[in-house]
Amino acid sequence: MNGPQAVTDLFTGDEQWDGIAAKSDHDEALYLELEGWEGPLDLLLDLARRQKVDLRQISILALVDQYVAYIDRAEAMRLELAADYLVMAAWLAYLKSAMLLPREEQEDPSPEELALRLQLRLQRLGAMRDAASRLMARDRLGRDVFRRGAPEGLHVDRRNRWQCDWFALVQAYGQVNARTAPVVHMVRDRAVMTLESALARVAAMLGVTLDWIELAQFLPPHADARLHRSALASSFVAALELARLGRAEMAQDYAFGPLRLRRIVA
């Protein structure tokens, strides 16, 4: 509100919606309103309303006559008519003649159906036009009812408080360094006895005697635990290989008992 104003000045009403009901019945005025129609259906609706009956009871024949008469008058007054008004006039004239024809000569769809369709369309348009009037007549915000003129407004200032600790910082730097430092791959030297050396060793030791020898005796003395395990596995496979070749025989007195080996003399 910009300063005071007398109430009387404010009560000037609202002209942005002047409604449709207030059309004059006066003929001249009616014809001059031509530009105000939103198309032929709109004009038909207004003419129908002039019958002052419920749209469900409207006489389609009378409406056709009214419309055609209206178009004729407008043409006589040399008002420029858009083509769709003339198309509608022609269609209505066809509808009227079909409705007056004897029934057996009628085509499909029947003129009654066409008339009913027109009537339904008029009803729907009429309903929406009334609804629009009622909607516009409501207490509208900013016209009839008002929100607060000068609201303070609500403000939420959002701020982030970032968190990070010393360890995370230093660890991150360490990881960056570790990630980007050149990486050297080294395979560690491991104490193993290969199958070849085990084969040579077992064969050589078998060659010395014809007696049974326990597998454990083939293993290198004083080997550390990892070499010992490797040597045991390799020597066992070597013994199996020699037995397969027919150069040695194996014996074991009971399950998990000591495994013995003896040379076969060819």
């Binding site: 939103e38 198309g39 409207i58 159906e113 369709r117 309903a127 609804a131 009622r134 409501r138 900013g142």
Partner: protein, 204 residues
């Protein structure tokens, strides 16, 4: 009736809604006020302001203060921020509101006339109509619906409050013509011929 003095939550809801630049939903209010349950405060405030010069109203799920409607004669003014709508635009708006979601072709079928592009644009720009997706039929036409701002502007708590919508629906006036025609023809078949003719209005 001696109303209880306002409690702190009610005062906070009152002050927040009063200061807000836009309508707020109960959820927004609650979030703003640290998760409080604002429903009973809102109800108490509505009651408190009933009959006063200003009131608290709910429109499309959002709450705001506004001046009492019966004081319109005092406050009414022509302002640029109230849109002047052409007759075409008011009809299109009504059709969208009562039929939503609705395509442009459906609007034109009801109005019997092509709708100028500008007409829908005005409603979109006013923030009363929005594009509500596409209809999954051949051509996938865009469909339109109203917005919460539409409800706010026209003082409607929801679309159910659209004037006369129940009667229109009951009368079948929100159904497409084809559907209504079928029903009418079925009814007509069940009636004697004379009635059909009377219905079509043979008498000049």
């Amino acid at each position: 009736m001696t109303p209880a003095p306002p409690d702190e939550l009610m005062r906070a809801v009152e002050a927040t809604l009063f200061a807000a630049e836009a309508p707020m939903s109960a959820g927004e209010l609650a979030a703003y006020l640290g998760g409080a349950d604002v429903a009973s405060s809102l109800a108490a405030l509505v009651e408190h302001y009933a009959g006063r010069g200003i009131e608290i109203v709910e429109r499309g799920g959002k709450w705001h203060f506004q001046s009492a409607a019966d004081l319109a004669h005092l406050l009414r003014r022509e302002r640029e921020d109230v849109r002047r709508l052409s007759r075409a635009a008011t009809e299109v708006l009504a059709i969208v509101a009562y039929h939503e979601p609705v395509s442009r072709a459906e609007i034109e079928a009801i109005r019997g006339v092509q709708t100028a592009k500008g007409t829908l644009d005005v409603l979109l720009e006013a923030g009363w109509v929005r594009v509500a997706g596409r209809r999954e039929v051949p051509g996938r036409p865009v469909i339109f619906a109203t917005t919460p701002a539409f409800l706010t502007h026209f003082g409607l708590a929801s679309r159910k409050e659209l004037p006369g919508i129940d009667e229109l629906r009951a009368a079948g006036l929100l159904d497409p013509v084809d559907q209504a025609l079928e029903q009418a023809l079925e009814q007509a078949l069940a009636q004697p011929v004379a009635d059909v003719l009377a219905m079509d209005g043979d008498n000049p």
